[in-house]
Subunit: 172 residues, 3 copies
Protein backbone atom coordinates (compact mmCIF):
# COMPACT_ATOMS: atom_id res chain seq x y z
CA UNK A 1 0.00 0.00 0.00
CA UNK A 2 2.70 2.45 0.93
CA UNK A 3 4.92 1.76 -2.06
CA UNK A 4 6.40 5.08 -2.99
CA UNK A 5 6.05 6.92 -6.25
CA UNK A 6 8.49 5.07 -8.53
CA UNK A 7 9.14 8.05 -10.79
CA UNK A 8 10.92 10.08 -8.13
CA UNK A 9 13.71 9.26 -5.73
CA UNK A 10 12.85 9.27 -2.07
CA UNK A 11 14.93 12.40 -1.54
CA UNK A 12 13.17 14.26 -4.34
CA UNK A 13 9.80 13.35 -2.92
CA UNK A 14 10.80 14.44 0.57
CA UNK A 15 12.13 17.75 -0.80
CA UNK A 16 8.88 18.44 -2.63
CA UNK A 17 6.90 17.52 0.48
CA UNK A 18 9.03 19.82 2.65
CA UNK A 19 8.40 22.68 0.25
CA UNK A 20 4.67 22.06 0.29
CA UNK A 21 4.77 21.88 4.07
CA UNK A 22 6.57 25.24 4.23
CA UNK A 23 4.02 26.86 1.92
CA UNK A 24 1.13 25.48 3.98
CA UNK A 25 2.69 26.82 7.16
CA UNK A 26 3.23 30.16 5.37
CA UNK A 27 -0.41 30.29 4.27
CA UNK A 28 -1.58 29.53 7.81
CA UNK A 29 0.49 32.39 9.20
CA UNK A 30 -0.80 34.63 6.37
CA UNK A 31 -4.42 33.71 7.16
CA UNK A 32 -4.04 34.42 10.85
CA UNK A 33 -2.33 37.77 10.24
CA UNK A 34 -5.34 38.91 8.19
CA UNK A 35 -7.95 37.30 10.45
CA UNK A 36 -6.41 38.89 13.55
CA UNK A 37 -6.16 42.22 11.67
CA UNK A 38 -2.39 42.39 12.12
CA UNK A 39 -1.96 44.13 8.78
CA UNK A 40 1.60 45.32 9.43
CA UNK A 41 2.62 41.67 9.93
CA UNK A 42 0.77 40.76 6.76
CA UNK A 43 2.68 43.37 4.70
CA UNK A 44 6.01 41.95 5.87
CA UNK A 45 5.21 38.60 4.25
CA UNK A 46 5.99 40.07 0.82
CA UNK A 47 9.34 40.76 -0.85
CA UNK A 48 10.28 44.38 -1.45
CA UNK A 49 9.48 44.13 -5.17
CA UNK A 50 6.34 42.04 -4.67
CA UNK A 51 3.20 42.40 -6.71
CA UNK A 52 -0.12 41.97 -4.89
CA UNK A 53 -3.27 42.07 -6.96
CA UNK A 54 -6.93 41.27 -6.27
CA UNK A 55 -9.08 41.00 -9.36
CA UNK A 56 -12.21 39.23 -10.56
CA UNK A 57 -12.11 35.97 -12.49
CA UNK A 58 -14.25 37.67 -15.10
CA UNK A 59 -11.60 40.35 -15.70
CA UNK A 60 -8.78 37.80 -15.48
CA UNK A 61 -10.43 35.59 -18.11
CA UNK A 62 -10.97 38.55 -20.45
CA UNK A 63 -7.43 39.80 -19.99
CA UNK A 64 -8.57 43.02 -18.27
CA UNK A 65 -5.99 43.82 -15.65
CA UNK A 66 -8.37 46.07 -13.68
CA UNK A 67 -8.46 44.94 -10.09
CA UNK A 68 -9.96 45.86 -6.76
CA UNK A 69 -6.43 46.16 -5.42
CA UNK A 70 -3.24 46.71 -7.35
CA UNK A 71 0.10 46.99 -5.51
CA UNK A 72 3.40 46.72 -7.36
CA UNK A 73 5.81 46.81 -4.44
CA UNK A 74 5.88 46.38 -0.67
CA UNK A 75 5.67 50.11 -0.10
CA UNK A 76 2.24 50.13 -1.73
CA UNK A 77 1.26 47.05 0.28
CA UNK A 78 2.30 48.78 3.52
CA UNK A 79 0.38 51.91 2.50
CA UNK A 80 -2.74 49.86 2.06
CA UNK A 81 -2.28 48.15 5.40
CA UNK A 82 -1.80 51.53 7.05
CA UNK A 83 -4.78 53.10 5.30
CA UNK A 84 -7.06 50.27 6.40
CA UNK A 85 -5.98 50.65 10.03
CA UNK A 86 -7.14 54.25 9.80
CA UNK A 87 -10.46 53.39 8.17
CA UNK A 88 -13.36 53.36 10.55
CA UNK A 89 -15.26 51.05 8.20
CA UNK A 90 -12.77 48.26 8.45
CA UNK A 91 -13.04 47.49 12.12
CA UNK A 92 -16.60 46.31 12.58
CA UNK A 93 -16.32 42.93 10.95
CA UNK A 94 -14.63 39.61 11.49
CA UNK A 95 -12.89 37.76 8.69
CA UNK A 96 -11.88 34.11 8.53
CA UNK A 97 -9.65 32.64 5.79
CA UNK A 98 -9.79 29.03 4.73
CA UNK A 99 -6.89 28.23 2.36
CA UNK A 100 -6.71 24.78 0.84
CA UNK A 101 -5.56 22.68 -2.09
CA UNK A 102 -2.04 24.04 -2.34
CA UNK A 103 -0.46 22.94 -5.60
CA UNK A 104 3.18 23.29 -6.56
CA UNK A 105 3.13 24.28 -10.22
CA UNK A 106 6.79 24.72 -11.14
CA UNK A 107 9.65 27.11 -11.12
CA UNK A 108 9.37 30.83 -11.96
CA UNK A 109 11.92 32.93 -13.79
CA UNK A 110 14.68 33.96 -11.42
CA UNK A 111 14.38 30.93 -9.18
CA UNK A 112 11.01 31.53 -7.55
CA UNK A 113 8.51 28.81 -6.71
CA UNK A 114 5.15 28.86 -8.44
CA UNK A 115 2.12 27.62 -6.47
CA UNK A 116 -1.61 28.03 -6.45
CA UNK A 117 -4.26 27.38 -3.85
CA UNK A 118 -7.95 27.97 -3.31
CA UNK A 119 -9.25 30.37 -0.71
CA UNK A 120 -12.55 31.13 0.95
CA UNK A 121 -12.99 34.23 3.09
CA UNK A 122 -15.91 34.27 5.50
CA UNK A 123 -17.15 37.49 6.98
CA UNK A 124 -19.27 38.46 9.97
CA UNK A 125 -20.62 42.02 9.78
CA UNK A 126 -21.53 43.48 13.13
CA UNK A 127 -25.06 44.36 12.15
CA UNK A 128 -25.84 40.80 11.05
CA UNK A 129 -25.48 37.77 13.28
CA UNK A 130 -24.40 35.17 10.74
CA UNK A 131 -21.23 34.40 8.84
CA UNK A 132 -21.46 34.86 5.08
CA UNK A 133 -19.19 34.22 2.14
CA UNK A 134 -17.12 37.30 1.40
CA UNK A 135 -14.93 35.91 -1.37
CA UNK A 136 -13.93 32.60 -2.92
CA UNK A 137 -11.12 32.24 -5.41
CA UNK A 138 -7.59 31.25 -6.24
CA UNK A 139 -4.20 32.53 -5.18
CA UNK A 140 -1.65 32.45 -8.02
CA UNK A 141 1.65 32.79 -6.21
CA UNK A 142 5.38 33.11 -6.67
CA UNK A 143 7.35 32.45 -3.50
CA UNK A 144 10.98 33.39 -3.03
CA UNK A 145 13.32 32.06 -0.39
CA UNK A 146 14.97 34.82 1.70
CA UNK A 147 17.21 34.86 4.75
CA UNK A 148 14.15 35.00 6.98
CA UNK A 149 12.17 32.27 5.23
CA UNK A 150 9.72 32.21 2.34
CA UNK A 151 8.20 35.45 1.14
CA UNK A 152 5.66 36.23 -1.56
CA UNK A 153 7.10 37.84 -4.69
CA UNK A 154 3.63 37.65 -6.22
CA UNK A 155 0.14 36.92 -4.96
CA UNK A 156 -2.55 37.32 -7.55
CA UNK A 157 -5.95 36.78 -5.89
CA UNK A 158 -8.58 35.94 -8.50
CA UNK A 159 -12.07 35.86 -6.99
CA UNK A 160 -15.08 34.11 -8.44
CA UNK A 161 -17.84 36.38 -7.13
CA UNK A 162 -19.18 38.83 -9.67
CA UNK A 163 -19.54 41.44 -6.98
CA UNK A 164 -17.77 41.63 -3.66
CA UNK A 165 -20.27 42.49 -0.93
CA UNK A 166 -19.52 45.70 0.97
CA UNK A 167 -16.94 46.42 -1.64
CA UNK A 168 -14.37 47.84 0.70
CA UNK A 169 -11.01 46.87 -0.67
CA UNK A 170 -9.73 44.70 2.14
CA UNK A 171 -6.85 42.35 1.42
CA UNK A 172 -7.55 38.64 1.11
CA UNK B 1 7.89 18.74 21.77
CA UNK B 2 8.78 17.10 18.50
CA UNK B 3 9.20 13.60 19.89
CA UNK B 4 7.95 11.32 17.21
CA UNK B 5 5.11 8.84 17.44
CA UNK B 6 6.67 5.92 19.34
CA UNK B 7 4.35 3.31 17.81
CA UNK B 8 5.76 3.63 14.32
CA UNK B 9 9.28 3.63 12.97
CA UNK B 10 10.48 6.83 11.39
CA UNK B 11 10.43 5.21 7.96
CA UNK B 12 6.84 4.06 8.35
CA UNK B 13 5.78 7.51 9.39
CA UNK B 14 7.56 9.15 6.50
CA UNK B 15 5.99 6.66 4.07
CA UNK B 16 2.51 7.40 5.39
CA UNK B 17 3.19 11.12 5.21
CA UNK B 18 4.45 10.83 1.62
CA UNK B 19 1.29 8.99 0.66
CA UNK B 20 -0.89 11.64 2.29
CA UNK B 21 1.14 14.31 0.53
CA UNK B 22 0.61 12.62 -2.83
CA UNK B 23 -3.14 12.37 -2.24
CA UNK B 24 -3.33 16.05 -1.27
CA UNK B 25 -1.43 17.02 -4.39
CA UNK B 26 -3.78 14.77 -6.42
CA UNK B 27 -6.85 16.40 -4.88
CA UNK B 28 -5.49 19.86 -5.65
CA UNK B 29 -4.96 18.93 -9.29
CA UNK B 30 -8.45 17.36 -9.33
CA UNK B 31 -10.01 20.53 -7.90
CA UNK B 32 -8.32 22.79 -10.40
CA UNK B 33 -9.30 20.59 -13.35
CA UNK B 34 -12.97 20.93 -12.37
CA UNK B 35 -12.74 24.60 -11.38
CA UNK B 36 -11.04 25.48 -14.66
CA UNK B 37 -13.61 23.36 -16.54
CA UNK B 38 -10.92 21.13 -18.02
CA UNK B 39 -13.22 18.12 -17.91
CA UNK B 40 -11.15 15.97 -20.28
CA UNK B 41 -8.22 16.30 -17.86
CA UNK B 42 -10.55 15.45 -15.00
CA UNK B 43 -11.69 12.21 -16.70
CA UNK B 44 -8.09 11.06 -17.11
CA UNK B 45 -7.59 11.08 -13.33
CA UNK B 46 -9.57 7.81 -13.09
CA UNK B 47 -8.50 4.24 -13.83
CA UNK B 48 -10.13 2.50 -16.78
CA UNK B 49 -12.38 0.42 -14.49
CA UNK B 50 -13.11 3.27 -12.09
CA UNK B 51 -16.43 3.84 -10.44
CA UNK B 52 -17.55 7.46 -9.98
CA UNK B 53 -20.78 8.08 -8.10
CA UNK B 54 -22.46 11.20 -6.69
CA UNK B 55 -25.29 10.46 -4.28
CA UNK B 56 -27.04 12.04 -1.32
CA UNK B 57 -26.15 11.19 2.25
CA UNK B 58 -29.81 10.42 2.79
CA UNK B 59 -29.77 7.72 0.11
CA UNK B 60 -26.36 6.46 1.22
CA UNK B 61 -27.58 6.07 4.82
CA UNK B 62 -30.72 4.22 3.72
CA UNK B 63 -28.79 1.95 1.38
CA UNK B 64 -30.48 3.35 -1.73
CA UNK B 65 -27.87 3.35 -4.46
CA UNK B 66 -29.73 5.96 -6.52
CA UNK B 67 -27.42 8.81 -7.35
CA UNK B 68 -27.27 12.03 -9.28
CA UNK B 69 -24.39 10.57 -11.24
CA UNK B 70 -23.46 6.93 -11.70
CA UNK B 71 -20.47 5.95 -13.83
CA UNK B 72 -18.99 2.48 -13.69
CA UNK B 73 -15.97 2.91 -15.94
CA UNK B 74 -13.83 5.65 -17.46
CA UNK B 75 -15.74 5.50 -20.73
CA UNK B 76 -18.87 6.64 -18.91
CA UNK B 77 -16.87 9.32 -17.09
CA UNK B 78 -15.51 10.60 -20.41
CA UNK B 79 -19.02 10.59 -21.89
CA UNK B 80 -20.23 12.77 -19.05
CA UNK B 81 -17.32 15.16 -19.45
CA UNK B 82 -18.03 15.41 -23.18
CA UNK B 83 -21.78 15.86 -22.68
CA UNK B 84 -21.19 18.71 -20.25
CA UNK B 85 -18.89 20.51 -22.64
CA UNK B 86 -21.77 20.47 -25.12
CA UNK B 87 -24.33 21.71 -22.62
CA UNK B 88 -25.06 25.37 -22.88
CA UNK B 89 -26.26 25.40 -19.30
CA UNK B 90 -22.93 24.39 -17.88
CA UNK B 91 -20.87 27.34 -18.99
CA UNK B 92 -22.43 30.28 -17.19
CA UNK B 93 -21.20 29.53 -13.70
CA UNK B 94 -17.99 29.41 -11.77
CA UNK B 95 -17.19 26.56 -9.39
CA UNK B 96 -14.59 26.47 -6.64
CA UNK B 97 -13.64 23.27 -4.78
CA UNK B 98 -12.27 23.26 -1.25
CA UNK B 99 -11.06 19.76 -0.31
CA UNK B 100 -9.81 19.20 3.21
CA UNK B 101 -9.31 16.70 6.00
CA UNK B 102 -7.80 13.89 3.96
CA UNK B 103 -7.75 10.72 6.00
CA UNK B 104 -5.95 7.51 5.08
CA UNK B 105 -8.31 4.75 6.11
CA UNK B 106 -6.53 1.54 5.09
CA UNK B 107 -5.89 -0.83 2.28
CA UNK B 108 -8.53 -1.91 -0.25
CA UNK B 109 -8.85 -5.35 -1.82
CA UNK B 110 -6.38 -5.68 -4.66
CA UNK B 111 -3.80 -3.31 -3.18
CA UNK B 112 -5.62 0.01 -3.48
CA UNK B 113 -5.42 2.79 -0.94
CA UNK B 114 -8.56 3.83 0.90
CA UNK B 115 -8.97 7.47 1.83
CA UNK B 116 -11.71 9.92 2.61
CA UNK B 117 -11.87 13.69 2.65
CA UNK B 118 -14.43 16.45 3.01
CA UNK B 119 -15.35 18.74 0.18
CA UNK B 120 -17.17 22.00 -0.28
CA UNK B 121 -18.11 23.27 -3.73
CA UNK B 122 -18.92 26.96 -4.07
CA UNK B 123 -20.79 28.27 -7.06
CA UNK B 124 -21.28 31.63 -8.69
CA UNK B 125 -24.22 31.76 -11.07
CA UNK B 126 -23.99 34.48 -13.66
CA UNK B 127 -27.35 35.98 -12.85
CA UNK B 128 -26.47 36.39 -9.16
CA UNK B 129 -23.47 38.31 -7.90
CA UNK B 130 -22.57 36.26 -4.86
CA UNK B 131 -20.95 32.90 -4.24
CA UNK B 132 -23.18 30.27 -2.69
CA UNK B 133 -22.76 26.75 -1.40
CA UNK B 134 -23.40 24.26 -4.18
CA UNK B 135 -22.55 21.06 -2.32
CA UNK B 136 -20.82 19.88 0.84
CA UNK B 137 -19.96 16.27 1.51
CA UNK B 138 -17.42 13.48 1.68
CA UNK B 139 -15.30 11.75 -0.91
CA UNK B 140 -14.93 8.02 -0.21
CA UNK B 141 -12.00 7.00 -2.38
CA UNK B 142 -9.87 4.13 -3.54
CA UNK B 143 -6.61 5.21 -5.14
CA UNK B 144 -4.42 2.93 -7.25
CA UNK B 145 -0.81 3.51 -8.16
CA UNK B 146 -0.16 3.40 -11.92
CA UNK B 147 2.83 4.08 -14.12
CA UNK B 148 1.77 7.70 -14.43
CA UNK B 149 1.06 8.27 -10.73
CA UNK B 150 -2.00 7.86 -8.52
CA UNK B 151 -5.40 7.41 -10.12
CA UNK B 152 -8.86 7.03 -8.67
CA UNK B 153 -10.31 3.54 -8.89
CA UNK B 154 -13.31 4.79 -6.92
CA UNK B 155 -14.64 8.17 -5.91
CA UNK B 156 -17.97 8.05 -4.14
CA UNK B 157 -19.15 11.63 -3.50
CA UNK B 158 -21.77 11.67 -0.75
CA UNK B 159 -23.34 15.11 -0.38
CA UNK B 160 -25.14 16.41 2.69
CA UNK B 161 -27.61 18.79 1.02
CA UNK B 162 -31.10 17.43 0.65
CA UNK B 163 -31.43 19.12 -2.69
CA UNK B 164 -28.71 20.27 -5.01
CA UNK B 165 -29.51 23.77 -6.30
CA UNK B 166 -29.84 24.03 -10.09
CA UNK B 167 -29.77 20.29 -10.19
CA UNK B 168 -27.64 20.00 -13.25
CA UNK B 169 -25.51 16.92 -12.79
CA UNK B 170 -22.09 18.49 -12.77
CA UNK B 171 -19.21 16.46 -11.39
CA UNK B 172 -17.81 17.38 -7.99
CA UNK C 1 13.75 25.54 -6.59
CA UNK C 2 13.61 22.92 -3.90
CA UNK C 3 16.50 24.31 -1.86
CA UNK C 4 15.57 23.62 1.70
CA UNK C 5 15.10 26.14 4.49
CA UNK C 6 18.68 26.98 5.49
CA UNK C 7 17.79 27.91 9.06
CA UNK C 8 16.84 24.38 10.06
CA UNK C 9 18.57 21.04 9.67
CA UNK C 10 16.85 18.52 7.46
CA UNK C 11 16.00 16.39 10.49
CA UNK C 12 14.40 19.29 12.33
CA UNK C 13 12.31 20.14 9.31
CA UNK C 14 11.19 16.55 8.86
CA UNK C 15 10.29 16.32 12.56
CA UNK C 16 8.18 19.48 12.37
CA UNK C 17 6.52 18.19 9.21
CA UNK C 18 5.76 14.82 10.82
CA UNK C 19 4.14 16.60 13.76
CA UNK C 20 2.02 18.73 11.47
CA UNK C 21 1.06 15.61 9.52
CA UNK C 22 -0.01 13.88 12.74
CA UNK C 23 -2.13 16.86 13.78
CA UNK C 24 -3.78 17.01 10.36
CA UNK C 25 -4.58 13.30 10.51
CA UNK C 26 -5.94 13.84 14.07
CA UNK C 27 -8.14 16.71 12.89
CA UNK C 28 -9.49 14.61 10.04
CA UNK C 29 -10.42 11.81 12.43
CA UNK C 30 -11.94 14.41 14.79
CA UNK C 31 -14.03 15.90 11.96
CA UNK C 32 -15.35 12.55 10.83
CA UNK C 33 -16.27 11.52 14.39
CA UNK C 34 -18.46 14.63 14.72
CA UNK C 35 -19.81 14.50 11.17
CA UNK C 36 -20.76 10.83 11.55
CA UNK C 37 -22.29 11.60 14.98
CA UNK C 38 -19.96 9.16 16.73
CA UNK C 39 -19.84 11.32 19.83
CA UNK C 40 -18.43 8.62 22.13
CA UNK C 41 -15.44 8.32 19.78
CA UNK C 42 -15.13 12.10 19.78
CA UNK C 43 -14.97 12.26 23.60
CA UNK C 44 -12.11 9.75 23.65
CA UNK C 45 -9.91 12.11 21.63
CA UNK C 46 -9.34 14.23 24.76
CA UNK C 47 -7.02 13.63 27.73
CA UNK C 48 -8.66 12.94 31.09
CA UNK C 49 -7.91 16.46 32.35
CA UNK C 50 -8.78 18.15 29.05
CA UNK C 51 -10.51 21.47 28.77
CA UNK C 52 -13.03 21.89 25.92
CA UNK C 53 -14.61 25.28 25.47
CA UNK C 54 -16.76 26.84 22.73
CA UNK C 55 -17.09 30.61 23.00
CA UNK C 56 -17.67 33.63 20.77
CA UNK C 57 -14.82 35.75 19.45
CA UNK C 58 -16.63 38.74 20.92
CA UNK C 59 -16.45 37.28 24.43
CA UNK C 60 -12.90 36.03 23.89
CA UNK C 61 -11.74 39.49 22.79
CA UNK C 62 -13.38 41.15 25.80
CA UNK C 63 -11.98 38.59 28.22
CA UNK C 64 -15.44 37.23 29.11
CA UNK C 65 -15.03 33.51 29.67
CA UNK C 66 -18.73 32.81 29.13
CA UNK C 67 -19.13 30.14 26.50
CA UNK C 68 -21.76 28.06 24.78
CA UNK C 69 -19.97 24.98 26.08
CA UNK C 70 -17.59 24.71 28.99
CA UNK C 71 -16.07 21.34 29.94
CA UNK C 72 -13.10 21.11 32.28
CA UNK C 73 -12.40 17.38 32.11
CA UNK C 74 -13.20 14.36 29.96
CA UNK C 75 -16.03 13.31 32.27
CA UNK C 76 -17.87 16.50 31.39
CA UNK C 77 -17.07 15.97 27.71
CA UNK C 78 -18.50 12.44 27.89
CA UNK C 79 -21.62 13.73 29.67
CA UNK C 80 -22.21 16.18 26.87
CA UNK C 81 -21.76 13.50 24.22
CA UNK C 82 -24.20 11.25 26.08
CA UNK C 83 -26.74 14.05 26.59
CA UNK C 84 -26.71 14.88 22.88
CA UNK C 85 -27.31 11.28 21.90
CA UNK C 86 -30.46 11.41 24.02
CA UNK C 87 -31.65 14.72 22.56
CA UNK C 88 -34.28 14.36 19.93
CA UNK C 89 -33.33 17.74 18.49
CA UNK C 90 -29.83 16.69 17.60
CA UNK C 91 -30.59 13.98 15.11
CA UNK C 92 -32.36 15.80 12.29
CA UNK C 93 -29.40 17.62 10.83
CA UNK C 94 -26.19 16.85 9.02
CA UNK C 95 -22.93 18.54 9.92
CA UNK C 96 -19.75 18.80 7.87
CA UNK C 97 -16.45 20.08 9.29
CA UNK C 98 -13.78 21.70 7.15
CA UNK C 99 -10.58 22.19 9.18
CA UNK C 100 -7.69 23.98 7.54
CA UNK C 101 -4.59 26.13 8.04
CA UNK C 102 -3.05 24.16 10.87
CA UNK C 103 -0.25 26.18 12.45
CA UNK C 104 2.26 24.90 14.98
CA UNK C 105 2.67 27.74 17.46
CA UNK C 106 5.13 26.40 20.02
CA UNK C 107 5.45 24.38 23.16
CA UNK C 108 3.01 24.54 26.07
CA UNK C 109 3.88 24.24 29.76
CA UNK C 110 4.34 20.60 30.68
CA UNK C 111 5.52 19.52 27.25
CA UNK C 112 2.33 19.92 25.23
CA UNK C 113 2.21 21.08 21.63
CA UNK C 114 0.41 24.33 20.84
CA UNK C 115 -1.39 24.60 17.52
CA UNK C 116 -4.19 26.56 15.96
CA UNK C 117 -6.34 25.99 12.92
CA UNK C 118 -9.39 27.46 11.25
CA UNK C 119 -12.69 25.62 11.05
CA UNK C 120 -15.92 25.92 9.16
CA UNK C 121 -18.95 23.84 10.11
CA UNK C 122 -21.68 23.46 7.51
CA UNK C 123 -25.13 22.33 8.47
CA UNK C 124 -28.12 20.86 6.66
CA UNK C 125 -31.36 21.11 8.63
CA UNK C 126 -33.97 18.60 7.60
CA UNK C 127 -36.66 21.16 6.97
CA UNK C 128 -34.44 23.14 4.56
CA UNK C 129 -32.83 21.67 1.48
CA UNK C 130 -29.59 23.64 1.40
CA UNK C 131 -26.37 23.61 3.35
CA UNK C 132 -25.70 26.71 5.41
CA UNK C 133 -22.84 28.01 7.53
CA UNK C 134 -23.29 26.90 11.11
CA UNK C 135 -20.04 28.23 12.55
CA UNK C 136 -16.68 29.56 11.45
CA UNK C 137 -13.79 30.14 13.79
CA UNK C 138 -10.47 29.05 15.23
CA UNK C 139 -9.36 26.10 17.30
CA UNK C 140 -6.73 27.04 19.88
CA UNK C 141 -5.26 23.70 20.89
CA UNK C 142 -2.81 21.98 23.17
CA UNK C 143 -1.99 18.42 22.10
CA UNK C 144 -0.29 15.89 24.34
CA UNK C 145 1.38 12.68 23.23
CA UNK C 146 0.00 9.57 24.98
CA UNK C 147 0.58 5.85 24.61
CA UNK C 148 -2.27 5.70 22.12
CA UNK C 149 -1.23 8.70 20.05
CA UNK C 150 -1.99 12.42 20.20
CA UNK C 151 -4.84 13.63 22.40
CA UNK C 152 -6.26 17.08 23.02
CA UNK C 153 -5.43 18.54 26.42
CA UNK C 154 -7.18 21.73 25.33
CA UNK C 155 -9.44 22.73 22.47
CA UNK C 156 -10.74 26.25 22.69
CA UNK C 157 -13.19 26.85 19.83
CA UNK C 158 -13.62 30.57 19.22
CA UNK C 159 -16.38 31.25 16.71
CA UNK C 160 -16.79 34.42 14.67
CA UNK C 161 -20.58 34.44 14.30
CA UNK C 162 -22.38 36.78 16.63
CA UNK C 163 -25.18 34.29 16.99
CA UNK C 164 -25.12 30.59 16.38
CA UNK C 165 -28.20 29.56 14.40
CA UNK C 166 -30.43 27.03 16.14
CA UNK C 167 -28.37 27.61 19.23
CA UNK C 168 -28.31 24.03 20.35
CA UNK C 169 -24.97 23.47 22.00
CA UNK C 170 -23.49 20.90 19.67
CA UNK C 171 -19.74 20.34 19.77
CA UNK C 172 -17.63 21.67 16.93
Amino acid sequence: MLAKNPRLSNDEQISAMLLRYEIEQFNSVYASALDDQRLADWAEMFTEDASYVVLSRENEDRGHPVGLIYCENRGMIRDRAFALKKTAMFAPRYLRHMISNVQLTGEADGGGIRARSNYLVLQVLFDRPDATIHQAGTYNDIFRRTEVGLKLAQRRCVYDNLLVPNALCIPV
